[in-house]
Amino acid sequence: MPASPTASPAESPTVALFVTCLVDLFRPSVGFAAVKLLEQAGCTVEVPSAQACCGQPGYNSGDRESAQAIAKGVIAAFEGYDYVVAPSGSCGGMIAKHYPELFAGEPVWQPRAEALAAKTHELVSFLVDIRGMTAVGSRLEAVCAYHDSCSSLREMKVQAQPRLLLQSVDGLALRELEAPEVCCGFGGAFCVKYPDISNAMVADKTADIAQTGADTVLAGDLGCLMNIAGKLSREGSKIRAWHVAEVLAGVEAPPIAQAEAPGSRGGGGPGDGP
């Protein structure tokens, strides 16, 4: 689906995709889905090769120095593009909200961090808010609960945008959680440093998902999804989990933590893109 006329379709910005380490390592299909959606929105997509991590693990563990060192690499690799887009509110939020804070008071790096922050977006909000996308052409037979990741919701103000686009997916019905604002218990290192507390939180979340009657859960952050899907899988639940980008672009891979997607083509991967 092309961008709507409000987003000046004549312009074709170059977008640098910040893949995120989890997508890179665990679920490349999310990256390819993001590329497909961005191209549908009229963008030229580049994937700077000098990228790995946004620095958040160090930053949140109090290791400001290595977070700064990593951030400098990201800034240098990404500042030359029109936009930076990440299929994650968490990594997007790190760049857009925390980089400026990380370099507060540094004469050279603060302005560079702020400039990069200003053009960095979470994927789905970028498609809707910046590119004016209002619908996609994909199809999935599913009753979906949408999980708002904390950083998407609070740092990147992503809430209505994914719901808007999901409504246009053929065959898909949306259900709301009872407590959509509550953390799923992932929290990066939190889930392995405090496994029992994290488990109580994710168990509440899977119970909430189940009570909606949904057969599928979607979210915009792979960290939350691995946590939720991993818990559902341990509970023996049949509820499927995908990254929202995969569904918007058209599902090509089995659900997270499951080997086969009923009704999906399976496989996925590099050759399947546009």
Binding site: V19, C21, V23, D24, L25, F26, R27, G31, F32, V47, S49, A50, Q51, A52, C53, N60, S61, G62, D63, R64, S66, I70, E101, C150, S151, R154, E181, V182, C183, G185, G187, G188, A189, F190, C191, V192, K193, Y194, P195, D196, I197, A200, M201, M226, A229, G230, K231, S233, R234, P254, P255, I256, A257, Q258, A259, E260, G268, G269, P270, G271
Partner: protein, 479 residues
């Protein structure tokens, strides 16, 4: 019960998760407070503007704290009251004891005071032959149960109704054992009768303070039970326990903050009782104490003043951050092992006890950010927790394995080519192991994860490798 300590946070949290009555009590709390606050905030169109006004008042006060403290002290003294500055809990306790002894006190009634908790006042008074009687219903319940508060505004939130009835039957001897104690009102009525005599017998009344007002020298408390009024007007001596962050310039400022406090705390528009005390009884006053003392406890606070942590002094102790915290909601207040639990406790406790003692707390957060979102005073609690983590990391207090792991990670991700080379193998291995089911049930070094959930298997191949391949395929196709 072994003494609770922040150093044993993990064990205490694990025990709390298995404590069925506690989990039942927490389940009730979570929905109640959150709904009430949401409704109260929605009903007030200018709620966000009110928050800004509250922040502005406190920010201004903190910028001129010395002036306002001096002005306030002068007013208290002019009105015939006394101000005592206590450097730490021990000095605070000593001052209380001296005042009680001078008044030949045998019984002391107490309104709710978190500063009193910081001082560990009750056991100290008991050890010196003075009986403290808590008059706030929640505090009274936990005093009977010999517990500390598990919440800063609802100290007995962890206790179920049946447990209260049990405590009453055990301690209120001389009443018919088969009396009805099933409903809240039964319990309230019984507590009230029990407390009535104690109010009259007390020689000294101790209360906390929600605000100290510089322009008048007043202290203000808000309660829903009216116990504070009786505690401070009936005895001959009134002691107020407070700390520097309670200071506000004017009564007008205090009312602005009170509007925020009640809504954020319990979803009320106003607390039921607001009690202003300004010094001892004057000529012609119908009632009031003969002596009025304020003890201002520092307990490490002035060390934070002027640092990045200063923002925490905006806190008005509404408890909203606790009510909305998923970690607090899972484990309750006692597991923290500190006077202040929840997000505010994670920021305040390392200041009061030292980061080496309380370092586990600021780490125990998923940084979901909901506390900051609901904090009426817009205190950036996650950011301040992160500052404590930085302090801990900088002083090499964080676990060695974590430090080594992070160091290696940071080193590798700054060398993307090398990182990718290593990742390729790790990912290929995991993808192979998980290929049949789509997930792994266990993995070396990932026990924290796989104890409770399966690990989704990688799809195989990193995005970057696949992307590069796709690009070269496209190039070849074009040729």
């Amino acid at each position: 019960m072994t003494e609770l300590s922040p150093a044993r946070f993990n064990e205490q949290a694990a025990a709390a998760l298995k404590d069925a009555p506690l989990q039942r009590a927490l389940g009730n709390m979570r929905v109640g407070f959150i709904e009430k606050r949401r409704k109260a905030a929605e009903k007030l169109p200018e709620f966000e503007a009110l928050r800004d006004a509250g922040v502005a008042i406190k920010t201004h006060t903190l910028a001129h704290l010395d002036l306002y403290l001096e002005a306030w002290e002068q007013k208290v003294v002019d009105g015939g009251g006394r101000v005592h500055w206590a450097r730490d809990a021990e000095e605070g306790r000593r001052i209380v004891l001296d005042i009680c002894r001078a008044a030949s006190a045998r019984t002391v009634t107490k309104g709710k005071s978190m500063i009193g908790e910081e001082m560990h006042l009750n056991p100290f008074l008991e050890a010196h032959g003075i009986e403290p009687v808590e008059t706030d219903l929640g505090e009274y319940i936990i005093q009977l149960r010999r517990e500390t508060p598990s919440h800063i505004i609802a100290p007995a939130i962890h206790v179920n109704k049946e447990q209260v009835a049990d405590a009453f039957r055990e301690h209120h001897t001389g009443l018919p054992p088969d009396r009805a104690l099933d409903e809240g009102p039964d319990l309230l009525a019984e507590a009230r009768t029990q407390l009535r005599d104690r109010f009259i017998a007390a020689d000294v009344g101790i209360t906390g303070a929600n605000f100290l007002v510089a322009e008048t020298g007043s202290s203000i408390i808000v309660t829903n039970e009216g116990n504070g009024d009786l505690t401070q007007t009936l005895p001959r001596v009134h002691i107020v326990l407070a700390s520097l962050e309670k200071i506000v310039p004017t009564l007008e400022d205090a009312t602005t903050l009170m509007r925020l406090l009640a809504r954020s705390a319990t979803g009320q528009e106003m607390s039921v009782y607001t009690t202003v005390s300004t010094g001892p009884r004057r000529e012609g006053d119908p009632d009031g104490p003969a002596e009025y003392h304020v003890i201002l406890l520092d307990n490490g606070r002035s060390d934070l003043y002027g640092t990045e942590f200063q923002e925490v002094f905006r806190c008005i102790r509404c408890g909203a951050c606790l009510n909305h915290c998923p970690v607090y909601g899972a484990i309750g207040g006692h597991a923290y092992g500190t006077v202040y639990p929840g997000p505010i406790g994670k920021v305040l406790s390392p200041a009061l006890m030292g980061i080496d003692a309380a370092g586990k707390l600021p780490n125990a957060s998923s940084f979901c950010g909901r506390c900051e979102e609901v904090c009426p005073m817009r205190i950036p609690l996650p950011k301040l927790m992160r500052h404590w983590r930085e302090e801990e990391f900088g002083r090499k207090l964080s676990p060695a394995a974590v430090r080594r792991g992070l160091g290696l990670w940071a080193w590798a991700v700054r060398r993307p080519a090398l990182y990718r080379f290593g990742a390729r193998f790790a990912i290929a291995g995991m993808a192979f192991l998980g290929r049949r089911r789509g997930h792994l049930k266990a993995l070396p070094l990932a026990g924290g994860w796989t104890a409770h959930r399966n690990l989704p298997a990688p799809q195989g191949g990193t995005f970057h490798d696949l992307w590069r391949r796709r690009k070269s395929n496209r190039r070849r196709d074009r040729r």
